[in-house]
Subunit: 191 residues, 2 copies
DNA sequence: CGCTCGTGTTGAGCACTGCTCAACAGCCGT
DNA sequence: ACGGCTGTTGAGCAGTGCTCAACACGAGCG
């Protein structure tokens, strides 16, 4: 008495790719890269390993695609809202970022830092994303970007990521205080 | 005409373990975890894979041992120097940290962040190290440690690690300015 | 309706890596 | 000399990334 084999579904190339990336997005936050096996992904998709390699040249290739997709979701979530006055954009971004971390908790660092682990290719995706975040931030603040400022903003991101991550686990300040502190710090840094 | 097999050397258990960890310390900064194969380590040590598994129950076990060794080296390097006045200890630590990053450049983030990648066990070693660094810092500053302060110092480390890492690659300020900036920021944070 | 062509899909199988286990080898004390 | 402790090995299993030649099923054509 075995479970009947699920019916084979034949999908268009685009659908299949999207499905596989979606599965990766589900699994990525919960699973360290090394433990994310092609077998598991294929099983969830109800296809053979071989088919996955038809769409992605290698595991690394698949993984970078998933990481890039995750980065796009984050960037979209943080990007400036039209119709909001320029001097409120930065505050809005910070609010949305904190909210994002509150929502995803454990997933957060996996997305943002864990992804860069081990594989230089994936690390590169992360680098690109960070640069885009810096652009977003400098834009929201209405500041020109020189190398020095970029470095400081990037480092401030590291500070923010770490602090918010800890804060979610053990809130030692009000939410409002947290946002204000981050904001103040960023301002002082860029004087 | 093949290279003659190297003579088998029989070592004491302690020596062997130390040798294996030392090899790991050489390889760790240059190689992502997933690409660090037991085969390679054994080859360099001139022993069989089996022997490595005799000393370390698993690859993870070996890897955590190496990571812990690396952490010990860093902690030792940063720990306060006897005979230096209390109010100069913090400055000294910062100087030594920047020097450390200058020396190891690429290795730096591998040690400090890359290690935490993927494996929760290894991440735990890193967590412990960070907590010890926080202790060291609060001690050097002569401040009592409450949870809020600890969080801020930890986040400040993230800031520092990231900024110094970037700065080494592209120095946008004097070395002295960098140290001063880090110092100022830490002070303001802990008021 | 039958045939072929294209494309989504698979199964068998290779190479490598982490890991186990039973057996071997060399040094020690008696 | 010899028995035993311990460092050491080789063969081999399981799982994982990856390849490749063949299969299946719908679309278009005669």
């Amino acid at each position: 008495m075995v479970a009947p084999p699920p019916p084979r579904v034949r999908r268009s190339a685009g659908d299949r790719r999207a499905q596989l990336v979606a599965i990766g997005l589900e699994l990525l936050p919960a699973t360290p890269v090394q433990e994310l096996t092609i077998d598991e992904v294929a099983r969830r998709a109800g296809i053979s390993r071989s088919l996955l390699f038809h769409y992605f040249a290698s595991k690394r290739d698949y993984y970078t695609a998933v990481t890039r997709a995750a980065a796009d979701v984050l960037l979209e979530h943080l990007s400036p809202r039209p119709g909001v006055p320029a001097d409120e954009q930065a505050a809005g971004m910070l609010e949305r970022y904190v909210g994002w971390v509150e929502t995803y908790r454990d997933a957060h660092l996996s997305f943002v830092r864990g992804a860069a682990a081990g594989d230089p290719w994936v690390a590169e995706v992360y680098e690109e994303t960070r640069e885009q975040l810096v652009d977003l931030t400098l834009g929201a603040l209405g500041l020109p970007d020189d190398p020095r400022r970029r470095q400081l903003v990037r480092a401030w991101f590291a500070f923010t990521e770490d602090l918010v991550d800890q804060w979610v686990r053990e809130p030692t300040l009000d939410r409002a205080e947290l946002v204000a502190l981050l904001r103040t710090f960023l301002d002082r840094l860029l004087v």
